[in-house]
Symmetry: C2
Subunit: 387 residues, 2 copies
Amino acid sequence: MSRVRVAGVGLTEFGRAPERTGRELFAEASARALDDAGVDREAVSALHYGNFMGALGERQGHQAPLMAEAAGLRCPATRYELACASAGAAVRGAVQSVRGGEADVVVAGGMERMTNRTIEETTEALAIAADELFEVRAGVTFPGAYALMARSYFERFGGGPADLAHVAVKNHANAVPNEYAQYREEIAVDDALDAPTIADPLGLYDSCPVTDGASAVVLVSESYAEENDVDASVAVVGSGQGGDRLALQDRASPARTPATDDAAAEAFADAGCSREDVCAVEVHDCFTIAEVCALEGLGFYDPGEGIGAARRGETTADGGLPVNLSGGLKAKGHPVGATGGSQVAEMTRLLRGDHPNSDAVDGTVGLTHNAGGTVASAVVHLLEVVE
Amino acid sequence: MSRVRVAGVGLTEFGRAPERTGRELFAEASARALDDAGVDREAVSALHYGNFMGALGERQGHQAPLMAEAAGLRCPATRYELACASAGAAVRGAVQSVRGGEADVVVAGGMERMTNRTIEETTEALAIAADELFEVRAGVTFPGAYALMARSYFERFGGGPADLAHVAVKNHANAVPNEYAQYREEIAVDDALDAPTIADPLGLYDSCPVTDGASAVVLVSESYAEENDVDASVAVVGSGQGGDRLALQDRASPARTPATDDAAAEAFADAGCSREDVCAVEVHDCFTIAEVCALEGLGFYDPGEGIGAARRGETTADGGLPVNLSGGLKAKGHPVGATGGSQVAEMTRLLRGDHPNSDAVDGTVGLTHNAGGTVASAVVHLLEVVE
């Protein structure tokens, strides 16, 4: 099986850009990734593209060939949609196509526009990631669903808003030096605790923002990298995906996310490495409680133990397992269809040593975790410096 | 590389079913496919699912995990969206995952609901497969776009509505015995020529209907089939995909569809067989002119020669190259996100000998061709009886 290298990564500055079209955003991210890779556009044989809500927000379906054109590519293009894990799924599809020998050079990534409509319209559009018949019609929105998960977690395992505040403080601190982050200001624990409630027990700083942005990574086979002298020191060594019931009510416990467990198990088995090898993690912290559930699902903490990780300083930049050194969805921003590609791009920069927070990375293996909905879908990748 | 076998296929009866939910439709198709395969649900390790416009028509995104649940599967699920080629892309993703060694048993397919809204709403929803900025805002709908392609074809190569009428007559005749087809009535050439104009030069019988339906196929690795004594006599021996500019105006000629050329070239090279080996073809005839362009793009006819194929009787059930023995999108129906899976299911039945039109098949290799938009995307698969 051909191993897969990350030859280049590209991102737009995450934030509010309601005046920019989707094709502009993806053109920018893909151009940066292709420049970073030093690979000719003619060598690219497929685009694997993630987008979640373009049919609603932009009235634009069939975005894959449009984005190939925006990227200056002449190749087949496929869109993956898995709610907020759309780009994670796109990266996984790209990895599988290179491994299967279908392609030597592919681009994967995603794009989302979220600020071109009112926040009410965007909240309603995001809600289509939940079960329309059995959740949305009952009034579920995502802040509400994650509030329910937080409440269930607190009741089952303990912990409270002050623990979650430390997650927000950590991720805001990490975002400060990141030139691609939406919110580059530190906050204090009291800022988080005193902030307006969004959905009890979650407050403003427990929630990621809405964001416009795009991400792209150039993946190449190991043989192509060698034969063409492509500088690609980071490899995708493991890929895993998990799935669960769509509706929260159909699961055993809202405080646990087994799709993450399954994705991690597959990725670690695929890579042949263990959790002790991992030196940096980017997890899907759309809400602070989601980071806690992710760290437990990934197996870095036992159930009930993840809630105190940030408060104890274990997941801060100077802790034993730095989590969301990019700033995470929380502070870097969350253009939903782009996020999975952004995580792989940021982890590649962190491992290569050219991320402003690379100094916090002590090791060669990093993990990315991208989730859809209330974690009905999860995609995990393991990256490693291999030369 | 592990070869891929079709272990089972399942379809819903195509037609109007506005009262049935998407999950009901996909549950039925997938249950039939799994029954046909005789494979336990526990053995399935992924669902690859196509859907185009559920975000608009049903306000339901993130359908992949929902459909896995409806199918009784406990596995990761991914949605592919490539306009009307969504399920073709899903089958291709599934094939690649088995070839790459990621999985031994997967389900691929798709679903679309189209009659639960007014025809105006459905026409508008379909239009998001075109370029929103440069086509849709100028008033383009798909009947209009394909009418433009037909007019361009006639001007460049000759031919006219009477040639297209023979395509409709053929596909309606093929649908008569097909228990899954939406329109099982024969029509005459004059019926087509006398029908109301939809978008000049295309009339009512040049256009496929709107359809509710679902499709599913169970794909297994050759080693799994052998070890588990799975009856799977048909293999997917070739897969190819092509891409083009999204907007018709950005292409060299509206009368040619080079994405189909590229997809076919890749699929034939992949399979190591030639056009002379092919004994039956299912092409994407969303409009009659689309069948003509497809046959030329696939290389069965030179440009300008495909227009007379049906009239000359070459592509009828008793012709040298039977095309759309299922009835095609034209008469079998076109639930857009399901169509690519339906084509693979129908071709498998045709090759296995258990389709009502199997008698028209004289050989062992069949081809399926699924297109998105005005063929900005095309996916081709080659199937072969291998035992």
